[in-house]
């Protein structure tokens, strides 16, 4: 099922508003809505689900205008952040619930067979008669997914699906969800504030800030060509140096960087900590080391440029320099943007 959002608007008195979002999701695609809290990503997801109604704009499922179809009839599977499993029902009853209340009448045998099939799919076959309070967080997550899939939804929507789980459980579940998605081919939209999760799982990442889409594209596109300083910062650790842009060049402490197509004035240079080489002499921005932090596989160096701007970069564990040493920062892959 193809989904299209056409200039969807939702106003709130609080900060979660959505200001005119348009988005196309192809059938069978796995798309992440990525953004900081308050960026409106959950509100968008809830509008697609029909749990909230848009103030303006339209949402299409295929060619059908689904904007005003109530959630009951919209045919979406929604997985809640805290799973929202019914605590008084067993795992099996939770999964069967949607089929029991459905307008499509199914025989108890058919429901039982489908429950078994879904339990196998989410690899929880032995837990049918447990209550949600008796299983782990990761297992609850999978029950919630099975329950959402039981009604054969046209679209699967997940709100921070791994937000409440331990880091290692999270990674396993992520790979597993990708596998399930590839098997079922169901159009899936999920919300996350964790960039690693979005990049790891999604075909396409939609990055939101303050209720607007700032960039959308494959993980490769958003990582390699971040549209602006916000995306660059949000996707990972980034250093920022203030620069002055003159005639297509960005100048920092006497060093010039390419800045094609950026208007003259104040600007900024962003780069990843891994894209810095420390040189004892030669080219680069003059700096001195403030602190060296040891990590299992590397050393993180905190340095200060001559103009007093802080830079952090990663080096091999063998990095021999110490606090107070002077040298030069050789920056690879700098990204130049106009000042915010």
């Amino acid at each position: 099922m193809k989904i299209r959002l056409d200039n969807v608007v939702k106003e709130f008195e609080t900060f979660r508003a959505v200001h005119g979002v348009s988005l196309d999701i192809d059938s069978g695609e796995l798309v992440a809505l990525l953004g900081p809290s308050g960026s409106g990503k959950t509100t968008i997801l809830r509008m697609v689900a029909g749990l909230e109604y848009a103030d303006a704009g339209a949402i299409y499922f295929g060619d059908e205008n689904a904007t005003d179809i109530p959630v009951r009839e919209r045919g979406v599977g929604f997985v809640f952040q805290h799973y929202a499993l019914f605590p008084h029902m067993t795992v099996g009853e939770n999964i069967a619930f949607g089929m029991k209340v459905s307008k499509i009448k199914r025989s108890p045998q058919a429901i039982a067979a489908r429950v078994k099939e879904l339990l196998d799919l989410v690899q929880l076959s032995g837990l049918k008669d447990r209550f949600p309070g008796q299983i782990s967080g990761g297992q609850r997550q999978r029950v919630a997914l099975a329950r959402a899939l039981a009604v054969d939804p046209r679209v699967l929507l997940l709100d921070e699906p791994f937000g409440a789980l331990d880091a290692n459980v999270r990674r396993d579940l992520r790979r597993w969800l990708r596998k399930i998605h590839d098997e079922l081919g169901i159009t899936t939209l999920f919300v996350t504030h964790d960039q690693e999760e979005a990049l790891d799982l999604a075909d396409r990442v939609v990055i939101l800030n303050k209720g607007k889409i700032v960039q959308e594209g494959t993980p490769e596109t958003v990582c390699r060509s971040p549209a602006d300083a916000f995306v660059m910062n949000f996707l990972g650790d980034a250093n920022r140096l203030e620069a002055e842009i003159r005639g297509g060049k960005a100048h920092v402490d006497g060093i010039a960087f390419e800045a094609d197509g950026i208007a003259d004035g104040s600007g900024q240079i962003l780069f990843r900590p891994a894209d810095v080489t420390w040189r004892e002499d030669g080219q680069g921005i003059a700096a001195s080391i403030v602190r060296v932090i040891d990590r299992p596989d590397s050393r993180r160096v905190l340095a200060m440029t001559r103009s007093g701007q802080a830079v952090e970069f990663d080096t091999a564990p063998e990095f021999p320099h110490r606090r107070g040493d002077a040298g030069f920062l050789d920056i690879r892959r700098p990204r130049v943007y106009a000042a915010a």
Binding site: V71, F78, A84, F97, G98, V101, F131, G133, G138, V151
Partner: protein
Amino acid sequence: MAHHGKGKPPRVGDHPLFRRALLTFVLVLVGLMIVAPLVVIGVEAFSKGVAYFGASIADPDTRHAIMLTVITALIAVPVNTAFGVAAAWAITKHDFPGKRLLTVIIEIPFSVSPIVAGVAYLFVFGLQGLFGHALQAMEIKILFALPGIVLASMFVTAPFVARELIPLMQAQGRDLEEAATSLGASGWRTFFSVTLPNIKWALLYGVVLCNSRVMGEFGAVSVVSGNIRGQTNTLPLHIELLYHDYNAAGSFAAASILAGLAIVTLVVKVALERQGAGRIQRPSALAGADTVTPEVKP
């Protein structure tokens, strides 16, 4: 684990002397204020023998008072239960202007003396009151009759169910209802198969409290009922009447019924809770962290 020295408490704030003193204080007060009066009721009720107890209960006026109290409870408790569920539902699952005000208003009967409620009803429904003449013209008798008694009882007990439900339903949030709806359940279906099972213990507790208060209500009812023996006397009013008649044993016999009812309702509550406790989890325990069995890797 190191041995702790003699005279040192095992934990901070757990000094044996303090613990004993605290426990003694609480036990003495419980004995004096709660247990002793109940024992006195039982002893006094049977002070003139079982036969006299039986005769006191069988007295037509006493029987009528019991009936009236039961009828009042049968009307007031269901109505207030429905009100409590509706109010808690509205307050916790919906946003509307004046929500806080409503929450405060619902609690008013707790802070207002019941006698004030009774007097207020006199002013509204009494002959000199707002609707007095209209009601008289239509020959509807509210005061000094069953409707007045029920209304006064309902006023006093209005907050009981809502008050038990609101914190619980607030903690539960709307997720479960949204999940049920997204799975295709109708509003009624969602209420009966998702909301109700998760609030039933709190609801039951509220109903039990509401019931014992309705049956025991004195102040408000005494103003609006008119104390007509054998007609508008509820059990608590009848007890007072008997007492003023210097019929102490009869009064205590009637009181023992009320006390007995209270004990029965409490026992019922405890029994029901215990029956379900093995199967039903307190939703609050589920809302929080994942503290159960370790993850089984897929």
